[in-house]
């Protein structure tokens, strides 16, 4: 990340926080807005629990985070209107996300991308309450990402329910 960009994001974020009467460090002393911006723009899926706590407790911090995340995502799907309580498919920009279930009961996340152009490597999921998680998608296989939603992996615990919930935001990074 370019320092100037980071500085700009942080400054804009501070303005936003001040106007909303909220501060990023109100729940967590010592946390700077720039840390939230950097966290949103990180290139890995490592979780910072301190920042995640702030995102759950501060609407302003969430706005800041979303603004910064918007700079790095390739496509996002905010909460979707769904006829059913659960969704198994979403169109996210040029990507199509689908959950399929195999005979052994194991669901798989399948993300098909465009023939050419943008590439993605991670997916971030955010619940309306600010709870979120980022997932590495690995390497596409013939332009398709295919990930087993195996609850045996810590990264996958509860993920299937989040993905099926229409109110979950999904960001492809």
């Amino acid at each position: 990340m370019i320092n100037e960009e980071l500085h700009f994001e942080a400054f804009a974020a501070l303005q936003t926080l001040r106007s909303s009467g909220d501060t990023a460090d109100s729940q967590s002393p010592g946390l700077f807005a720039s840390q939230i911006v950097a966290y949103a723009r990180r290139g890995d899926a490592i979780v910072d629990l301190k920042i995640e706590r702030v995102l759950r407790s501060s609407a302003g911090a969430r706005d800041l985070y979303s603004a910064a995340l918007g700079r790095v995502v390739r496509a996002s799907s905010m909460s979707v209107a769904a006829a059913a309580d659960r969704v198994t498919e979403r169109q996210i920009g040029r990507w199509h996300l689908e959950i399929v279930e195999e005979a052994d009961g194991l669901p798989w996340l399948v993300i098909r991308g465009p023939e050419a152009g943008d590439t993605i490597s991670m997916m971030e999921i955010r619940r309306p309450d600010g709870t979120g998680r980022r997932l590495h998608l690995g390497t596409p296989i013939d332009k398709v990402f295919q990930v087993p939603l195996d609850p045996g992996f810590a990264e996958m615990a509860g993920l299937i329910e989040w993905l099926r919930d229409p109110s979950t935001e999904i960001h492809l990074i």
Binding site: V100, E101, E102, A103, D104, W108, V110, R112, H136, L137, G138, T139, P140, I141, D142, V144, Q146, V147, P148, D150, F153, E155, M156
Partner: protein, 416 residues
């Protein structure tokens, strides 16, 4: 048959743990047990196994994708293609793939072209074998048959030579498949042989010369065994009666030990030895010796804190013990936690043997494994799974036949 197929890499062996059909997912994927993300060769694997490809045509597994789960990472290269193709073929033939307690371990390496022929290239065989040596040795020690399927000849490390794996050099997948088709054929033959032996009539015929030759070899072997045990506490110049087991008419009596006196083996009777100066009944007190060439008793127990159900259904590996026949009997063993009992014939045996199983032993065996006799060839192990409820005591004798002749009896005793 439970088969472990190893994908060797220069970093170590990667066993194929599982091969699962995917009906809904659009891609075949290769991954490890420890990571949900696909391994780098997944794209190639998808192309390799997809419908319409050479492998799908050769094996005929139909439409659908696969998830191949490995025990460790395969990073690069295409030498995984031959073992993976063999694994697909074995599974299509109804064999069970898995790394735990396999009956057969296949270690194979090689990249395949569109006609499923092995591509000539440097496969770093020596390094891969070196990295896999411990794994192969463990499988051999647990009684698995180990076959190395390789594109070119390879020298075995010294510690793998005895008992060693089979090395099979092949030029294509068909060559590899033929090995296991033949192996299956051999098993069928063995099963037929067992049935033939157990059902044979008194007038069952064989070449007399062959019978005499085989019986002679076996008797020679037993004489040697008895001598090795006996000389520890017996003056070899004494006329001696040695006994394999006190089994009535099937006892083997050897009434002159002059032969033993002519050998270069020396013995010093040990103080306190029951056999010392007692006329040389081996079963009365011969010192423990490893006896090559006679069947070993193999017993498998549930690990501490578990039960045989977990072992028989494959979720736990049994604790295995090999008991060597010595002093006219097998060492006593416990019945508590005993899941399976079987016999193995060491590679050094000169000929196969038939073991006639008594009714009191067969009564303890699961019906699906119950048979009147076992036919063992050198290097072979055959196990019989046991019922959950076992008696307080098992004291019985196994008939030993060779070349259609009764050659003695092997006594065994087990208690709770």
């Amino acid at each position: 048959m439970r088969v472990c197929v190893i994908v060797p890499t220069t970093d170590g062996p990667a066993p194929i743990l599982r091969l699962t059909r995917l009906a809904q997912a659009p891609r075949s994927v290769m991954r490890t047990q420890d990571d949900y993300r696909p391994l780098p060769p997944s794209g190639r694997y998808h192309a390799f196994v997809q419908m319409g490809g050479a492998l799908a045509d050769r094996i005929g597994y139909g439409a659908g994708q696969f998830e191949l789960r490995l025990g460790s990472v395969v990073e690069t290269g295409r030498s995984w293609e031959l073992p993976v193709a063999i694994a697909h073929w074995l599974q299509a033939q109804g064999h069970e793939l898995g790394a735990d307690a396999p009956d057969l371990l296949v270690w194979a390496t090689g990249a395949l072209d569109n006609d499923l022929r092995l591509l000539p290239q440097d496969y770093h065989l020596a390094r891969k074998l070196d990295q896999s040596a411990a794994c192969l040795k463990e499988a051999l020690n647990h009684g698995a048959r180990v076959v190395l399927v390789v594109p070119e000849a390879i020298a075995l490390p010294p510690d793998l030579k005895c008992p060693g794996p089979e090395i099979q050099v092949v030029a294509d997948l068909d060559g590899a498949v033929k090995l296991f088709e033949d192996r299956r054929h051999m098993q069928d033959l063995r099963a037929a042989s067992q049935a033939g032996l157990s059902d044979r009539k008194p007038g069952w015929d064989r070449g007399v010369g062959l019978r005499v030759a085989v019986a002679s070899v076996l008797i020679g072997l037993i004489v040697f065994f008895l001598f090795v045990v006996g000389v520890r506490g017996v003056d070899p110049r004494e006329a001696t009666t040695l006994r394999v087991a006190e089994a009535g008419s099937s006892d083997i009596d050897i009434a002159d030990a002059e032969v033993a006196a002519d050998t270069s083996i020396t013995s010093v009777p040990e103080a306190g030895s029951e056999a010392a100066g007692q006329g040389g009944d081996v079963s009365a007190g011969g010192q423990p010796q490893d006896i090559e060439g006679l069947p070993r008793l193999v017993v498998e127990y549930a690990p501490d804190g578990s039960n045989c159900q977990a072992v028989l259904f494959g979720s736990l590996a049994p604790e295995r013990r090999d008991l060597v026949f010595r002093a006219g009997t097998y060492p006593d063993f416990g019945l508590t936690g005993l899941c399976s009992i079987g016999f193995s014939l060491p590679d050094v045996a000169s000929t196969g043997v038939e073991l006639a199983l008594p009714h009191d032993l067969l009564d303890l065996v699961l019906p699906s494994d119950r048979r009147a006799s076992l036919w063992l060839v050198p290097g072979d192990t055959q196990m019989l799974r046991l019922r959950a409820t076992l008696p307080e005591l098992l004291d019985t004798r196994i008939g030993l036949n060779s070349g259609g002749e009764e050659a003695g009896a092997l006594s065994l005793t087990a208690v709770r």
